[in-house]
Amino acid sequence: MDSGFRLEVRTEGAAAIIAVSGELDLASSPAFQEQLERISGPETELLVIDLRELDFMDSTGLSIIVGAHQRLTEQGCSVSIVRGAQQVERLLDLTGVAERLRVVDTPEEALNGG
């Protein structure tokens, strides 16, 4: 099974948007982690992790998001997640992440603070 993981990064003002697609698992997570580690507050005020195109995420991927959230919150950067596929959504719900991180429907929603 090919994970076909892809990662796109863009910035908008003081916000960074990381869009991931394919499968985020043990094999693809190092690339994701590396990308997240380049982001730090307070230069970046908002990080948006766009999961709309993500087909699958395992607990490794989830722990990277939680780890980044812990670190960035301390640095004064807030983290938003754009919700994605059913499996990904279920994982966020099940683990209580959906309840504690800001989860939105589109990157624009996160950027507009709406």
Binding site: M1, S59, S63, G67, T95, V97
Partner: protein, 561 residues
């Protein structure tokens, strides 16, 4: 380059001295033979090349008998005949392609690579009159090329496998026949006991003989033997020419003597396999049938090869030690046996990812224990892999036991485990499901873990509630408890995400397949259910498991004490 009818005629009429003088100044060997295979001319380089003093001496010796002094082979080690020599072919009207020829002088054992190129000399009418051959000594270039290729083949072999025995056998095979006719690899332990791990002989018929020869050699190396000395000093030894009497002097009896005689060893070298300042083994190289004499250059190559092989040995031993550590760790991190829990029949399944590579330890865990006031079942998954995750599973399991004595509630246990994880540096996350096992009833608390599944007697599958967040992630987390009744004939499955996330050719195993598997196995015992699950995952999965799998199956049985 030497074409031209005029030149031919001058040689044929004996009027070639001034050309001969010119040719004598060349370092390449040049010979000219006529149609009757008579040597008309050879320049000084050619005369010396063939081991003669004067042209007259060389002319008086038939080519046949010159060739008889040498073992002559092509690049692949196939013996060459007179009819393969380009000048002979040309004079017999055949095509004369350049020939790369390997020669070993029988007497001296000297090995040489020659490149032979032949062109025809024709008269004014274009009739072939003679063949002119240029012999170029390409020994240096060819040897360097062979050495480089061997080093790279060895490098590939040593990098490709962790099976030491197989690797060293391949290594011996690569050395033969290019470096030696016989190559033997022995590993040595700290008591100087040798472990014969590989050997190769260029002649397949003699391999049996080499194997029989091993039986005569003592397992323990004596310090005053050649190999014993090489290991003690760490210095290699070259025996360019071993007198026949000396070869057989080491024989223990007549049969041994016969075997040694039959091998016809001419030249040998013993090279230590050293890594850092330790000698882990010794490689022995011999030439036999090829009659070649081993040279200091050969020794240099052998030393390079042995040094590389030594690193492979060291890596493999390190790997064995490490996987031993990992396995011991893993063993210590898993309960050996599930305890008897009054009122419950329980089975467990545990498959760490990549189990056949032995070095993997997993982050999945389970624990079933009888506390002071109640029995508990715990299943969980530390995110991440490797030793860090594995050691944390130990913390979770012993932590749960400890907390249960003071606060025998599943939610309290998860709360303390969360605190424990959050006090650690870095992010350590864990999903877990903790159950207190009562009579026909469970009290469940979940921390971000996949809900347990229950299948009843009519094959209905339900999910238990899963309210709490995962452990180690949030400062403000709270966990609740749910009581779940497990009636007679009902079967409950606690599992980690390695089950539903097992990757098949096109998709993941998924919750739906798992529910169907449970529905199909309504009414079986916990052990049978887990066997079926294990088999289903094995069949579904494509390639190596990427994640650990852990599962507990429970059913309520009439309470006995």
């Amino acid at each position: 380059m030497l074409g031209g009818a005029g030149l031919t005629e001058r040689f044929l009429s004996g009027r070639g001295p001034e050309v001969a003088e010119l040719l004598d100044t060349l370092s390449e060997a040049i010979t000219i033979r006529d149609l009757s295979d008579t040597l008309l001319f050879a320049n000084q380089a050619a005369i010396r090349h063939m081991g003669f003093e004067t042209l007259a001496e060389l002319q008086a010796t038939p080519l046949q008998s010159i060739m008889a002094d040498y073992i002559v082979e092509n690049e692949d080690g196939r013996p060459l005949k007179m009819s393969d020599v380009p000048s002979v072919r040309l004079l017999h009207g055949q095509s004369a392609e350049p020939l790369l020829m390997h020669t070993v002088h029988r007497q001296s054992g000297e090995s040489r690579w020659d490149l032979l190129k032949t062109a025809g000399l024709r008269d004014a009418e274009g009739r072939l009159m003679a063949a002119v051959t240029m012999i170029e000594d390409v020994t240096a270039v060819k040897t360097a090329d062979v050495h480089m290729r061997m080093l790279s083949e060895w490098g590939r072999t040593l990098a490709s496998s962790l099976d030491l025995q197989e690797t060293l056998q391949t290594v011996a095979q690569i050395a033969v026949p290019r470096l030696a006719d016989l190559c033997v690899v022995d590993l040595i332990d700290h008591k100087m006991v040798r472990d014969h791990v590989g050997s190769a002989h260029r002649d397949p018929a003699l391999r049996e003989l080499v194997a029989r020869l091993r039986e005569f050699e003592p397992a323990e190396l004596e310090p005053d033997s050649t190999l014993g000395r090489v290991i003690a000093t760490g210095k290699s030894e070259l025996f360019a020419e071993i007198p026949k009497e000396r070869v057989i002097r080491v024989a223990h009896n007549e049969e041994h003597r016969e075997l040694l005689r039959a091998l016809e060893i001419r030249s040998a070298m013993a090279v230590p396999m050293r890594v850092r300042s330790r000698t882990v083994g010794v490689m022995t190289f011999c030439t036999c049938g090829s009659q070649r004499r081993l040279t200091p250059d050969d020794l240099k190559l052998a030393e390079q090869l042995a040094a590389r092989a030594a690193i492979a040995v060291e890596n493999s031993r390190l790997h064995t030690t490490l996987s031993g550590v990992a396995e011991t760790l893993q063993q210590s991190l898993l309960p050996n046996e599930l305890p008897e829990v009054p009122g419950w029949e329980i089975a467990a399944l545990y498959r760490p990812a990549g189990a056949d590579q032995r070095i993997e330890v997993g982050g999945d865990f389970y624990e079933v224990f009888n506390g002071d006031s109640a029995s508990f079942a715990l299943i969980g998954d530390i995110t991440g892999h490797g030793v860090t995750a594995a050691t944390l599973t130990g913390l979770m399991r012993s932590g749960a036991r400890f907390v249960s004595r003071l606060e025998p509630q599943p939610a309290a246990i998860l709360h303390r485990l969360d605190e424990e994880l959050r006090q650690r540096p870095g992010t350590a996350l864990c999903t877990a499901l903790c159950a207190r096992l009562g009579a026909g009833e469970l009290v469940l608390s979940s921390a971000g873990h996949p809900p347990a599944l229950i299948v009843d007697a009519s094959a209905n599958v339900t999910e238990t509630p899963a309210p709490g967040p995962l452990l180690g992630a949030f400062d403000d987390a709270e966990w609740g408890e749910e009581a779940v009744a497990v009636g007679p004939g009902e079967l409950m499955l606690l599992y980690t995400d390695g089950v539903t996330e097992a990757a098949g050719p096109d998709e993941r195993f998924g919750l739906q397949r798992l529910r169907e598997l449970l529905a199909e196995h309504s009414g079986v015992s916990p052990g049978e259910l887990l066997e079926a699950l294990d088999m289903a995952l094995e069949q579904f999965r494509e390639g190596q498991a990427a994640d650990d799998v852990a599962a507990l199956a429970l059913r309520a049985v009439p309470y006995q004490r």
